[in-house]
Symmetry: C2
Subunit: 352 residues, 2 copies
């Protein structure tokens, strides 16, 4: 059929497996804790009759709450269907030039997919052998810059000085700092948005706020950037956020204590897990996220991945050069991580 | 700032007003009835703890229910965040060629906005003076075709014979039939999807199913088209539908009796309203939707729009040539329409 010549053919992003059985699921960086009890309250008392109406197109109730939470103006906030929706919209909006955009060679693999679907030229800038991003490598002609800080799947964070250097040295580019994991460590670039018009910071409620199933992400930046982003958003879908997601997002922000407590638990378990993995001979960049990107010299990561899966422990394995030496292990509950460590001990004794 | 040269500048779609006060709201084609009581049940018993997990990326629970409902295979179904999200994804996927796509000059104004944001060349094909779409006008070189049936904002439906003629005469183009309003009348093109690989039909739960606030739309077509659409969707956002929206969509489909009853009520009220408007001297295309596109010779539609607004009755007015002679009036409850007619009577006696 010749209508296929008009079709945009792409190689999509592959999300992690979502097994239907009950397993120890450490493969998609979800929270092991439930969202705030306030989320359940909001859903269970939701006025279902109101669903006959369109939701607020400007998502006012949520942008207002986010602005108050982050001490910015409401027109410095943009919300979307998870930070993937926000980032996708950013690629479409800010990377519409001719010059290639820049992002690290090892990072969130969706960047390359968005560049492909929107036909954006790009250059992947190599990290160092230690998975470090060198700001000076971004001192070159470009049509935009995007990087994750802390980075994924490495878990490594860059200093705010380094982040600021990139933003400052590229005044002619929009610089997007993807802070999906910043709640678990690292320094946020948020204090810089008042000083740099070209900076946009993206966040998600999917990780530390345990709302992956609700799809809530957002961006913070200069009013100018947010206005351009909204123009494109309103050219794609006037109503991206459904009414329950707006209410749930607000409820989560209202429960700061719960957010801090569960995040602290994940961080404590992460630090414990680091010690145990070291003892078992694993190496890994020092993670500031809710996952650890671990490798063990002389041990096949792929085989370990398969063996763990047989024991109903799912971690993430990437079948590509360099990454295929590693497992990306999400931090679960303390008990789940103890089980993981026990199973690893047994496996490493017996099979490797 | 020179980073602006890389920014995609667009003129976005303008959705209808969403007044916060209690008014008679006949301006955005929402349902005057609540969604099925099963929707409230599902929300109020939703397992909020499960929100820590990502939702099903393939939206299986909902595509399965839709496939059963429409008697097609599951891989002939695509779901999205309202039919706007579905249509936007269709424009991005199927209209990636060099030749201009075709759509009517008077139709859903978002088509032109999507064409602009995705840089798709287009030709607007004039309707007849009677707002009729002539299939033979689409017998010309093109990179794709999209039209609404019944059409908006005219409310007019085209026969299935006409629809089939367009699909058959354009085997080298993907033809999208936007059936947002088909639940209220008109003939669906669904029976044709098994025979034409190039046909895609889009639907929404926002209107007859009273779920505008939940953002659920879908497309039905050949497996080949659905596969291409999914490839692009998974290149934009792996998880577009949040977990509650999947559950709510299924719940709505399970309550066929409620759906039929409320739709029948809207249709009955529409027919009553047509009679009343005729008596008041209005002309309008014979609507098969949940709105009436009405004009009254010698009466300023704009002034009527403003006067009704002052009386807390919101209808939709489009400030553009031809359309500015009309008001698009959504069908509310019988009581709301009786109030509207009464106010119109008073206004027309006094001020015009």
């Amino acid at each position: 059929m010749s209508f296929e010549k008009n079709i945009r053919t792409v190689v999509p992003y592959t999300p992690g497996e979502q097994p239907q059985r009950r397993v120890i699921k450490l493969n998609t960086n979800e929270s092991p804790y439930a969202p705030s009890p306030k989320v359940a309250e909001v859903l269970h008392s939701f006025d279902a009759d109101s669903l006959r109406r369109y939701p607020q197109p400007d998502c006012h109730v949520l942008t207002e709450a986010l602005a108050a939470y982050h001490h910015v103006e409401e027109d410095q906030v943009f919300v979307g269907v998870g930070s993937d929706d926000v980032l996708s919209m950013c690629f479409l909006t800010f990377f519409a030039g001719e010059k290639p955009i820049l992002f690290p060679d090892i990072t969130y693999s969706f960047y390359e997919v968005w560049a492909a679907v929107y036909r954006i030229p790009f250059i992947k800038v190599p990290l160092t052998d230690q998975f470090e991003l060198r700001p000076e490598d971004y001192r070159r002609e470009n049509g935009g810059i995007v990087f994750a800080n802390p980075n994924a799947p490495t878990g490594k964070a860059m200093s705010l000085t380094g982040v600021e250097q990139i933003i400052k040295e590229n005044p002619d580019s929009v610089v997007i700092v993807d802070e999906a994991y910043v709640d678990f460590g690292g320094e946020s670039a948020l204090p810089l948005i008042s000083r740099y018009d070209n900076l946009l910071v993206t966040r998600t409620m999917s990780k530390a706020r345990a709302l992956a199933g609700m799809r809530i992400g957002y961006a913070l930046g200069s009013k100018k950037l947010i206005r351009y982003l909204n123009d494109v958003k309103f050219s794609v879908n006037s109503y991206t956020m459904n009414a329950p997601s707006l209410a749930v997002g607000v409820a989560s922000l209202e429960d700061e204590r719960y957010f801090r407590e569960t995040t602290a638990k994940t961080i404590a378990t992460r630090e414990w897990t680091k010690e145990q993995l070291k003892k078992l001979g694993f190496f890994f960049p020092d993670s500031q996220t809710n996952f650890i990107f671990a490798s063990r010299p002389g041990t096949s990561a792929e085989r370990l991945f398969e063996q763990l899966k047989q024991r109903d422990i799912y971690v993430r394995y990437f079948r590509q050069p360099v990454l295929d030496q590693y497992l990306r292990i999400t931090i679960g509950t303390q008990q789940e991580m103890e089980t993981l460590i026990r199973e690893l001990e047994t496996l490493l004794k017996k099979n490797f």
